[in-house]
Symmetry: C2
Subunit: 498 residues, 2 copies
């Protein structure tokens, strides 16, 4: 018997038709739990904006229902929005992995909202309860950041497995294997719905193990004559571990440059996710005394981010690191689409300064943290879900992922392709797209602690395209000009100009 | 005996450290010839700019020396700047291929500068003379646009071969083979310097023949049930020929959408570069009477350009073409880096409207018009030059191309890596980088027929990032406020905003 209130409502407020700001609402009756709350970065034309958040109207209006949040892992697209939301929402408790919560705690402190919630660390196979209707089991998975989880959400309509971000890495760098036994057990007992990461749904095959990067970095390191500069994602804890291990092997001390890299490494070392000898890491200001061939500089900026250390180094604008002939710079990351031009420009500038730059797929010095089509198939076969919901991807990827699922026998009517704000109504015997809740974007200009609303953005776009003319005219009460009017041009093309 | 004035000065004003605005000066004694004069498109942050041109200061100052221009082919990055330059420079004569000159003539007319130069069509192996010092032979090559040439420039210091844009396509769509016999003959007699296209210098292997696309497009077309929409570069005359041939084979009439596509096809048909039956092409407004399975719409917008037909179609903003369930949309072009996001967003929107979209490398429906490393090696071996100058590429590509040349025995000291504005001094026995001439960029806002100079751009960037506050205050002669000041905010974040 399915009554109308026996409906689980799944509402992704972000993360669909995009990669970023993953924020998912699970609602049953008078209870809501959240899964992750990330941020995205601005696209072209979002002038003066540095952070993009989902529209939280629905949660503000239903804040009394919120029982807590589940956090899958510590990437910005999963935890980066939380500090902003806590300024306007009460989220009584957050359960998540140790590393993610350590990174999150720092953000909450900075934003002055540490007292607005309670952070509780979970271990693999821990089961936590929210309100009357939800309990959630944390299942260890493998991803590019350490300490990452898939979750099994037990709800009145059945078990919903949310994969979080994952690939099947059978030889993880930290030895923490994907708990596929537990997934398989759920599959055996019956999974009602699988919600799965679609990032690489367009790419055939399996994603290689993170460990496959090791011999290739080893070869690159062994060929470097002078200083080594290496850049990767600050959050790629496994990669950083391998780089540190190789630095030690090749007799190089490591200086870390860039705020986010320093932050992640500090937390990851404290918690034991990064292991290295104390004297391997040296402050940047001391390394000029060390011979070039014994130095490795580990920096942020693998995506050509304008203010990052590597970008400033490439422009000769970094105070402490100047590129010189003999330096080898290694990009252990592929550019995310949209960053390609910034990255290749950075590479060009580094080469012009005399560095040898190692970049590009053929070197095998980067692999994705997300599974490809064969990983997706394995996930579906392990869990054998009745219903399927592809998430964490742009529209094309969701479509491809749904086609993969169909090729494995899940009927097309048992899955939905949704957009941010769509309400998925999951019942015991059906899945369907319901009405929509508000799901626009909120733009944050962190330098001004204000929101850039659509009107402001529109005005900025007009100003950028056309410039602005201001005319100051003083007019007497009798309507005549009092003084010569003054005209000011800002950003305006004057046609007399040549 | 080499006197100091026995120096050929080669000065690229654009096209280096970039792909775009190729413009090269050859100067000997009191004579200058130009090779191509292209445009580039604006990058992020060039607000309100739609065309980027090289700084022509050097040519303005030496305009009395200019004897004429050599045009290699009709791509925008080779002819798109000419109409702008003719407004300020006298270029007495331009020699080039029929198709390029037809496209150019239209531009000159639109800009009202048709009378400022004389266009003279050349045929393969034609030799033309400029002034006392230069004569130039046109050598048929193969590229993505029809009627393309490499050139042999005879100068007092020796023969300089400029490849233009090329790949070695041994089975060209139009049957016009690369004149490698003539290149080989120059190689046998002795080539002083080779100036060569570096676009794909980072990619191993040979670029496949344009013809390799044919069976793959054929397969895609045969699987389409409803309407077919196909987008490619407007200038890819060979591709368009194949698409038209396949349309006829599959019983579809073709409606062409997009100004540049209509323009190129009109000229190419008049000149015989595109051959098809008259009734194959039908005006767009008539095709609604024809069954879906008999319609092919050929459009611009393969790069997600904001104002292009395909982009407007994907946004539901095109008046005459509305996507519907059953449509198949084919992207017969790869996104140029920097356009990726715009392209995938377009694809996503088309899919959301119900279209099946065929895109991506695995379909084999696009090949580059530029040669890869093996093409470069063949070019070097055919011409066996003493000196080598890689052009038409970003810095990384120039470096890779020079490494390819070194791997074939050209000594490193016989080549230079240069930037726009560098003066290459080529003598009988040496090549070296001399001083620099001005080589910045000039930004054109075509909607306002003015130049956006660096100051205007800087102001626009500030306006975009911060917005603008204007305060109007009327102050009495005694220094007191005359009325309540008025404040206007444009694009400004007000902190009271929530
Ligand atoms: Zn993610
Ligand atoms: Zn992640
Ligand atoms: Zn070109
Ligand atoms: Zn070209």
């Amino acid at each position: 018997m399915t009554k109308d209130n026996e409906t689980l409502r799944i509402i992704p407020l972000g993360g669909l038709h995009e990669i970023g700001k993953n924020t998912c609402v699970f609602e049953y009756d008078d209870e809501i739990i959240l899964l992750d709350a990330g941020l995205a970065f601005p696209t072209d034309g979002m002038h003066g904006v540095n952070i993009v958040l989902p529209d939280m109207t629905y949660l503000r209006e239903n804040s009394h229902k919120i029982k807590g949040m589940v956090i899958t892992h510590g990437h910005e697209d999963h935890i980066g929005g939380i500090a902003f939301h806590l300024k306007q929402l009460d989220i009584p408790v957050m359960y998540g992995p140790k590393l993610a919560l350590a990174l999150l705690a720092g953000k909450l402190e900075e934003a002055g909202v540490s007292d607005r919630t309670e952070l509780r660390t979970v271990s693999p196979r821990d089961i936590v309860r929210f309100g009357k209707h939800f309990f959630v089991e944390f299942i260890r998975n493998t991803h590019s950041i350490a300490d990452s989880f898939s979750v099994a959400i037990h709800t009145p309509v059945g078990v919903v497995i949310h994969t979080g971000d994952f690939k099947f890495d059978h030889t993880p760098v930290d030895g923490e294997a994907f708990d596929i036994q537990r997934l398989a057990e759920y599959g055996e007992k019956g999974v009602h719905c699988l919600i799965s990461d679609s990032t690489n749904a367009e790419i055939p095959g399996f994603t290689p193990s993170e460990r496959s990067v090791f011999p290739n970095l080893d070869r690159v390191f062994s060929q470097a004559k002078g200083r080594l500069l290496v850049t990767t994602f600050a959050s790629s804890v496994h990669r950083i571990n391998m780089i540190l291990e190789l630095a030690e092997k090749h007799g190089r001390v490591v200086a870390v440059v860039g705020r986010s890299m320093l932050n992640v490494i500090a937390h990851a070392r404290t918690l034991g996710y990064i292991k290295c000898k104390d004297d391997l890491l040296q402050p940047l200001h001391t390394i000029h005394k060390i011979p070039d061939e014994n130095v490795l500089i580990l920096t942020t900026g693998s995506q050509g981010e304008p203010m990052s250390a590597m970008t400033r180094i490439s422009k000769g604008e970094h105070r402490q690191v100047k590129i010189r002939e003999g330096d080898t710079v290694v990009f252990s990351a592929n550019p995310i689409p949209g960053n390609t031009i910034a990255v290749v420009n950075t590479i060009d500038r580094l080469m012009m300064l005399g560095a040898k730059v190692i970049y590009g797929r053929e070197h095998g010095i980067h692999v994705s943290g997300h599974g490809c089509q064969e990983d997706h198939k394995l996930m579906i076969n392990l869990t054998r879900p009745k219903f399927f919901l592809p998430v964490h991807g742009e529209h094309r990827m969701l479509i491809k992922h749904s086609q993969t699922a169909q090729s494995m026998g899940i009927p097309a009517e048992n899955m939905v392709i949704i957009d941010n704000g769509d309400v998925v109504e999951l019942k015991k015997d059906s899945i369907r797209k319901g009405e929509k809740v508000p799901a626009g974007i909120e733009l944050v200009d962190t330098s001004r602690s204000g929101m850039v609303d659509q009107r402001v953005l529109k005005e900025r776009q007009q100003l950028a395209g056309d410039g602005m003319v201001t005319i100051a005219a003083s007019i007497n009460l009798d309507g005549r000009l009092f003084a010569k009017p003054e005209m000011h041009l800002r950003g305006v093309v004057s046609s007399v100009n040549r």
